[in-house]
């Protein structure tokens, strides 16, 4: 499902103008990205595209290369091979032009325990290129307000709970209006309420036209907040695109609730419609048929239908399918 890394690279390789503007519509892009840490391949031939205005969920098990990819996107790590483009700037060399417009929460929040939440934020604000000195104070107050930490602003960071620390990290990422916000595992350590708040912030950012890149190993979280998804497996993108079509690509099913379960199964099987019994009722395979046809078949056979619900393949299924069928082409390097 990935495009050939080498073919794409040929166009942007030797002698290519690194300042070439990104076509409108892409907030971040990697081509043929590869990173080797002391003989361990963390990321290999990774082609990722983050469409402008999207909320892209980067999904993958631990160690699949999510954080390494994000660190290369932000210019923190220089790729072994391949190109990174962030807001039209080549990274890491164009960092000064791209990063002021990017907010990031990577590998957990980073603050000093001996400073208060407010002092920590002021320190981050002082380093923000796009923030005028006279606005530092107000930006810090606004950011604290946004994540609900006003009451704890004078408390030392070391006394913050895990969730508060995470929120402060989010506040730092949103100190100035951004074009792109990168959130690496933003709900780590958050309680359900905190998770909802993060989702809300992401939705607000999306509504304001900000591109958001969220990495997560929690599938439900990505499904709830994202418009796009990229699935990483062993340092490779095994699928990417809009979330809805990707999910539709799975086998659609219909969940039918009926008191006459066995009769229902018989009726459907007589009509060559795939079905199996689940706790909630009948799970009907819609391949080769349609929901109305299934309901009609059941009703004609005298099976009462209380409810029929279309089941989208959930992300978990999709993910399992992708990571299981992915070709094992990641070169193992001797350690």
């Amino acid at each position: 499902m990935t495009t050939g890394g080498t073919a794409v690279q040929a166009g942007t390789g030797v002698g290519a103008d690194t300042q070439a503007p990104t076509p409108v519509g892409v907030a971040a892009r990697t081509t043929g990205l590869r990173k080797v840490f002391r003989g361990t391949v963390a990321v290999d031939h990774l082609d990722l595209e983050v469409p402008a205005g999207s909320v892209l969920g980067m999904l993958g098990p631990n160690g699949s290369g999510k954080t390494t990819t994000i660190r290369m996107l932000l210019g923190l790590v220089r790729p072994t091979e391949g190109d990174v483009e962030l807001l039209g700037q080549p990274m890491p060399d164009g960092a000064a032009h791209a990063l002021p417009r990017v907010g990031a929460l990577v590998e957990g929040p980073g603050f000093h325990p001996f400073l208060s939440g407010e002092d920590n934020l002021r320190r981050v604000a002082a380093a923000e290129p796009l923030l005028a000195t006279k606005d530092v104070h107000r930006s810090v107050s606004d950011a604290l307000d946004r994540v609900g930490l006003v009451a704890a602003r004078h408390r030392k960071f070391r006394a913050y709970s895990l969730g508060m620390k995470q929120r402060l990290g989010l506040a730092a990422a949103l100190l100035v209006p951004r074009e792109l916000v990168v959130l690496d595992e933003p709900t780590n350590g958050l309680d359900p309420a905190g998770t909802r708040e993060i989702r809300k912030v992401v939705a607000e950012l999306h509504a304001a036209g900000t591109t958001v890149l969220v990495s997560s190993h929690l599938l439900s979280e990505v499904e709830a907040t994202c418009t796009h998804v990229a699935v990483l497996h062993r340092g490779n993108v095994v699928a990417q695109g809009e979330l809805a079509p990707l999910l539709e690509a799975g086998n659609p099913t219909l969940l039918v609730t009926t008191p006459a379960r066995n009769e229902g199964v018989e009726a459907l099987r007589d009509n060559r419609i795939g079905v199996r019994l689940v706790d909630e009722g009948l799970l009907v395979d819609l391949a080769g048929t349609s929901a109305p046809a299934v309901v009609e078949t059941l009703v004609r056979s005298g099976v009462p239908v209380h409810e029929a619900r279309r089941q989208r393949a959930d992300l978990e299924e999709l993910f399992a399918r992708l990571t299981e069928s992915a070709p094992d082409d990641t070169p193992e390097v001797d350690r």
């Binding site: 210019g75 000064a96 990031a104 590998e107």
Partner: protein, 285 residues
Amino acid sequence: MTAATLAVTPTVRSATSAPMGRLLRSELRWVFKRPRTWIALTLLGLVPVVIAIGTRVGGSGDRGGPGLIGDLIGNGFVLPIVALTVTLAVLLPLVGAMWSADALAGEAAHSTLRYLLVAPVGRVRLLVVKTFGVATAVLTAAVLISVVGMITGYLVFGSHELLTLSGTTLSFGDALARVAIAAGWVAVQVWAVCAVALAVSACTEHPMVVMAATLAGAVVLGVLANIPALDWLQPYLLTNSWASLTDVLRDPMPTGGLLHGLALAGSYALIGWSLALARVVTKDG
């Protein structure tokens, strides 16, 4: 948490880096808000007081005790110089190494270095800001020791003048200048140590490693200084030149040793800082 709060647009600068003055102020606030900075400065400030009390209580009241300490009696202006000499031996390099350790390794350990880099603060600029913070802290320590030394010296031993080791007497103004020279010279020596420590600091995420490496380096220099076969090495050992500090108590002041010390410190600082820079611009954030 409303869409409205997110949409508020502060005055947006169209810059690629934050103003340098703001970064430097922010760095100083960070250095001087640390409890350990205040603890270190307090302990260093106590050194001249302890020396004064010890000499006053332990001394017989006659002149002629061993070395500089004996020279203190009735000669208060010697106290800051004695205190600077004593602290330069171990305490100041140790505290300087601590500040250097916090500057890069400490920031890396708290994950804060990463966020400075993505702000972005350019890597060269980052090292400049960090160096400024460490250098200011060291200078503060040297000035503090001198000022506390002069005040304590006057209160405990009296005298507005400085009786030099050469037997002459310097006026209050001249004495003040001598103390200022000593403080500045000591600061430069410790800066050299800090520059090397910064190079180590740029290579690790563990502040302890920086402290250990700096102390080990000082010990190695001391050992080298005591190997007769390595006589030719003597002029290049930083710690060796530190004995020249007492020259400020002579009249006229011999400048050879002091200038050699400055040149040596400058070389160490240049090498250390270059290594730190090379590491900072290439390291993974």
